[in-house]
Symmetry: C2
Subunit: 405 residues, 2 copies
């Protein structure tokens, strides 16, 4: 019996979340078991308010190709936590909508919190004999999902970081005067993206000479000593830090001001570890200091996306549809690396209950003993993920992106 | 009689200052009147300490091609103001170095302050019957030099701004919740770079919906009213502001904190107009607000450079050498636009005394009456300058750049 599919995007946008959407639409439309592929507008939250579109009908072939190369979430996103109590009236209301729209396949592209949504829905379905298939497609620049080698979105963000840090290093080294440049990178708890700055180096000993991840305790005095040593070796010192570095008591460095807020999920909204270290270095050493926060650019740069990441993100969507059609449910598509060089990867499935609400931190043994650098193991891991520059449509000197009117 | 040429880079780096250097080296080596092309390391300041290299000998052909595509200043830069008093002992000391190195041609690539250097040296030379030719090659992302249609470096920075703002607009519009995103762009006094954000729009009425330049007086209450109106029309409002916006009394918006410093030239070191407006909007409207400072990325991104800008920067260097060999001195190479569409440009010469220490501000009649947008005249002016994506050498997923060891 023919059924419809529905797909949503959730959590923070990435350069390639639309590539996974593209994969789901293309693969969905290629199978006659699936009549239509609907898209939830603003995820499950928007869908509950009745917002959705028919992706199998509303997009031209050309628009579909543009979608693959457009950063940020085409369908819009949400940060909406489903009720923990599966007996909440939320669930029958949602499943009634599914029934009315003849949904047989549900795909949710997102990170930890989105996998929590997939987990709850698949558990509810199994308790209530629903045969809807619930599939999670991973997405996060943070690379912090467990049971997968890496996540779609990380490769592009890592490439952006490596490229941009390389360019800032050149920029920062034009003057003779001693200077310190501090680059703040995204990552509340996991240092994957900050570690990517190590790929910026052009030669052994090149900047960034100091890299601090949230996985190591940060200590101001040890930092001062690290900076002092670096300044004796180089006139221009570039330092990369995660937004979420914290001291041995777990206090975030950005909390050394009193400007902390919470987001919907109770996450601390962090900003400013770079700025705080800038002021610290200026006061301590009296040298020229600048801090640069790469900010949202690192997650939404389509122009600097990784071709490998785009193709793998499409594949994650494609494999999600295939899994659903095989009758599998309650899983997340995951990546299993089969070789580093030449790099090969295969898609597998992971139990979504085992993925949600967990965080894969940066491995301690990939951090050098002094806590200021990354080992070559990480470079072997990360380099394959940043390869290739996608060919994209340009018009008037700027990239052409698709958007909902 | 054969003479040597010497070239220096000065002031803030850009994506294409090395393209002009490339033009000078290539053209210099093509003329038999020139024996060697020397490069001052860290501009005139480094040269006075004896730091220079032989560019006609020390670079392989492959390195020279990489130089054309490498952002930031390969030779290093300086911010060194020559003595105003031409009878200072600085000048005979410098000219003695020139004599010892058989310098016949002097090229300085830079902005306002660098043209001041060229002006002083050419005036000193003319007072002392030196036949050294002094030529300025323009360079600044600020586009604020007079007597030239635009400056090398502006097109690439403008392309970076337009592209990045377009991507941040996509990123900022994924949630349903009302939000304001404030993007702070470089420009102390001139709004050229902030104006470039208007090119980010994909359709009429698209974000950024509000653009504030230093050329208009900024008023917090009028701003609040602009934001309120914008929030009734759009759930996601993106605003672009220059770092140097100021109120009607000339007080910089970033001075609404007490964190102001001066650089060597007595310029105010500004930062934070975006952050201050972020806090203002949050307190006033209680909506989600984020500020993004594009920072040095906008001047040093080689990956997003404009092909037109690179080629014109090479041309500026080439034409500088040709002018010097014709015996011209005390000039800056300038761009004269001959048509908008299709865009054509020719190099001319401008009296460097008329260029230095002046600033070309953004034309008042290209700012809309309410001071929150740019007219189409600007788009016609700027669009030709951001065209084309240069082909560059990539290795391991990252751009290959040349640097001094």
């Amino acid at each position: 019996m023919k059924k419809n599919a529905i797909v949503g995007q959730s959590g923070g946008p990435t350069a390639v979340i639309n590539a996974s959407l593209y994969g789901i639409i293309k693969e969905g439309m290629a199978h006659e078991e699936i009549s239509r592929v609907y898209g939830m507008i603003n995820g499950i939250e928007g869908f509950m308010s009745g917002n959705y579109m028919d992706l199998s009908n509303d997009l031209t072939a050309e628009e579909l190709e543009l979608l693959k190369m457009t950063p940020a979430a085409y369908l819009g996103s949400c940060r909406y936590k489903l009720p923990d109590d599966l007996s909440s009236p939320f669930y029958p209301a949602l499943f009634e909508k599914f029934r009315a729209m003849e949904i047989g396949y549900f795909f949710y592209i997102g990170g930890n919190d989105s996998m929590d949504t997939v987990s709850k829905l698949s558990r509810y379905a199994s308790h209530h004999q629903s045969d809807i298939r619930f599939i999670g497609i991973p997405k996060t620049i943070d690379n912090d999902l467990v049971l997968t080698d890496h996540t779609p979105g990380y490769g592009s963000a890592a490439k952006y970081v490596a490229d941009t840090v390389r360019e800032i290093v050149l920029d920062s080294s034009v003057y003779q005067q001693k200077s310190v440049t501090i680059i703040e990178l995204m990552g509340r708890h996991a240092g994957w993206l900050t570690a990517a700055s190590a790929m910026a180096r052009k030669f052994e000993g090149d900047n960034p000479v100091l890299i601090y991840l949230p996985e190591s305790d940060f200590d101001f005095e040890r930092f001062a000593s690290d900076v002092q040593t670096a300044l004796t070796r180089k006139s221009s010192v570039v330092i990369c830090v995660s937004e979420g570095i914290s001291d041995s008591k777990g206090k975030f460095i950005c909390e050394y001001t009193d400007d902390v807020q919470l987001d919907t999920f109770g996450h601390k909204m962090l900003a400013g570890s770079g700025k705080i270290l800038e002021n610290f270095v200026r006061n301590r050493f009296g040298v020229k200091v600048r801090s640069v926060e790469l900010n949202v650019n690192q997650r939404c740069s389509g122009m600097l996306a990784s071709a490998v990441d785009i193709e793998e993100s499409v594949q994650a969507g494609t494999e999600g549809v295939k899994a659903a059609l095989k009758g599998i449910t309650g899983i997340m598509i995951a990546f299993n690396r089969t070789a580093d060089s030449p790099y090969t990867m295969e898609c597998i499935t992971a139990d979504v209950d085992q993925v949600c609400n967990k965080e894969k931190l940066f491995p301690k043994d990939w951090i050098c003993a002094n806590g200021t650098d990354i080992t070559d193991d990480f470079l072997r891991y990360a380099l394959p993920l940043i390869q290739g520059e996608p060919k994209r449509k340009m018009e008037g000197g700027l990239p052409v992106y698709i958007f909902r009117k």
